[in-house]
């Protein structure tokens, strides 16, 4: 693509897909970056599970929790969601570390809220402060977010809330899309978190490997991974999705090349629940940034 600059090329890709986008990509040492409105606050959607993972691992490092401890997650008051434990009918008994794995691998909302129940909002924000993520705040988990959305839309159920959100004839501005009123972060803060984790500065060696392994196990291939659809590429990341918000944060490692941290956040003009063009644009933007940083 012939753009005036990498930033223009990325903006063109995102606008062409019908989304507003914010992006940051960087080398591990931070000496080279791609910055497209990277310091703008955007609601996290499920990205809150990423700093939550780090906070959980910190607790393990501090021996405040045994990751192998078996926990019972009852089917009562289970956070709704399309994946994992959220979809189960019955009580579940699993270890904390396996719950954390589901939280990352399939963005399991029930698992996420279980971990948040253990770690707490306050400790999570302390972790953010320790990591130097000054533009990030977590105010709640998945259940809180879904409750807020249901209230904002005046819906009776979560399913109805999402229907209203996707209604083309009734454009609304729910607080879920407002970074002031919801958990929020910036692309630059997220790539900073990934770099700290990969540089061994966030956690012990053992917990660093554990966290990286979980992120490597994320199953989604439709966003950042869609920009690198061939064997040998390692993509370790976390998506975030809520209505028109579609995000992903990942460490992208091409064979024998240094890892590049990428964070792409988007807000689509169309309120549709399914928007593969937006997902692919995230992959395209990531590919452009990674290629640029590896070349220069």
């Amino acid at each position: 693509m012939n753009g005036v600059s990498i930033h223009d090329d990325i903006r063109t890709v995102l606008a062409g897909a019908g989304v507003q986008g914010w992006m940051h990509a960087r080398t591990l040492d931070g000496n080279r970056v791609v910055d497209v409105d990277a310091d703008v606050s955007v609601p996290t959607a499920s990205l809150y599970k990423l700093p939550l993972l780090i906070a959980f691992c910190e607790m393990v490092d501090a021996r405040l929790v045994d990751p192998r401890e078996q926990v019972c997650l009852t089917s009562m008051q289970r956070t709704a969601g399309p994946t994992g434990i959220s979809t189960f009918s019955d009580d579940v008994v699993m270890s904390w570390r396996d719950i954390a794995r589901l939280m990352i691998a399939v963005s399991d909302n029930a698992a996420g809220d279980a971990i948040l129940g253990l770690v707490g909002v306050e400790r999570t924000n302390q972790t953010l402060a320790r990591l130097g993520m000054r533009q990030t705040k977590i105010i709640g988990g998945s259940a809180d977010s879904l409750r807020g959305l249901t209230n904002d839309t005046g819906a009776r159920t979560i399913a109805q809330a999402f229907e209203i959100l996707a209604d083309l004839d009734r454009p609304i501005d729910p607080s879920a899309y407002d970074p002031v009123l919801s958990s929020s972060t910036t692309p630059a803060d997220m790539t900073h978190l990934m770099a700290e984790l990969w540089n061994g500065r966030a956690l012990s060696a053992e917990q660093s490997l554990f966290a990286q392994d979980l992120l490597n196990g994320q199953v989604w291939t439709h966003r950042i991974a869609s920009g690198f659809a061939y064997d040998g590429v390692q993509i370790a990341g976390k998506t975030g999705t809520l209505g028109a918000l579609r995000h992903e944060v990942a460490m992208v490692e091409l064979p024998d090349r240094p890892p590049i941290a990428v964070a792409v956040f988007t807000l689509s003009a169309r309120p549709d629940g399914t928007l593969p063009r937006a997902d692919r644009a995230i992959g395209d933007a990531a590919r452009l940034a990674v290629r640029y940083l590896l070349a220069n």
Binding site: A15, G18, L168, P171, A269, R270
Partner: protein, 298 residues
């Protein structure tokens, strides 16, 4: 020092590189011009021109200061013009609409804005949603009507006005004779709709509607009613229009059951939207859109 007068001297000599010609251009004789340039150079303590026996040229300082002198003169001209025209200047409301809005609708919007009393003159222009949004954010337009969905985060947008559409079907197409026309009956031909670049999100939405219905989503670019009608009349494509009076030989205009491809329009203006004249104009435009659609469906 009369800065403007001296700037005129400076620019004239810089343009002509000849004191005599410059003086003639200014309607002066040469000595007052030379003295004026010298006074300017002394006041600024800068040499603007190199004068040799045969030629005049700009010094480096002269080169650098010349554009500023030109700016000063053009600003002065603008002030003069604005001031002279003050008595007769009008308040213009600049409105932009997308090409899919028929001539009749454009006219009724202009009439509504004029009747709202917020301006003596209403200027109407037509451009794609993408362009109109850009012009609103740059302050080149006061109000615009754009297609929804579009990326509207940088503007204030009013409610969604859903306008019913009619298929423009080539007479020879089997669907032309059906009692009830469903979207899935309009298969086998391309669709004449505005190009993706004009409105990427709305284009994708329309194409997805075709795909979801199991019909071909091939498109031919048609920015407005004229182009759509021509493509339908020549049997090349099925068009869409909000104009319930549009007619042509060889074309059948039909509503589609369930109105599955409406034209959704939103009236936009720059943020902040709280300025009173703008809200009145926005309301007037939204009323005109609603009236048009209700009239068409009657």
């Amino acid at each position: 020092m009369d800065m403007i007068r001296h700037a005129q001297f400076f620019v004239a000599v810089a343009d002509e590189l000849h004191f005599g010609n410059a003086a003639r251009r200014l309607g002066l004789s040469q000595p007052p011009l030379s003295q004026g340039i010298r006074r300017l150079e002394e006041a600024w303590n800068v040499r603007l021109f190199e004068r040799s026996a045969r030629a005049v040229s700009l010094t480096a300082a002269g080169h650098e200061l010349l554009p500023h002198a030109r700016d000063l003169l053009s600003t002065a001209d603008r002030l003069d013009e604005r001031a002279r025209g003050y008595e007769t200047s009008t308040v213009r409301v600049r409105v932009g609409v997308v090409p899919q809005m028929s001539a009749r609708l454009g006219a009724s919007i202009v009439a509504a804005v004029a009747a709202s009393g917020e301006g003596e003159r209403v200027d109407l222009c037509t451009a794609s949603s993408a362009t109109l949004i850009e012009q609103i954010t740059r302050g080149q337009l006061d109000v615009a009507v754009v297609v929804h969905p579009s990326l509207l985060t940088k503007v204030h947008a009013g409610p969604v006005n859903r306008m019913s559409t009619y298929a423009l079907v080539p007479q020879a197409h089997p669907a032309a004779d059906l009692d009830v026309l469903r979207l899935r009956d309009l298969s086998g031909l391309a669709w004449a709709i505005p190009p993706r670049a004009h409105q990427p999100s709305a284009f994708d939405l329309t194409v997805d509607a075709f795909e979801r219905c199991g019909i071909s989503s091939r498109t031919i670019s048609a920015a407005d009613d004229r182009e759509a009608l021509a493509l339908a009349a020549s049997g090349q494509a099925i068009g869409l229009t909000i104009d319930d009076t549009l007619e042509a030989v060889g074309v059948v205009r039909r509503s589609i059951e369930g109105d599955p491809l409406p034209l959704r329009l939103r009236t936009i203006c720059a943020l902040p939207e709280s300025q009173r004249p703008r809200t009145i104009v926005l309301a007037a435009v939204d009323d005109a859109l609603r009236d048009f659609d209700q009239g068409a469906r009657r």
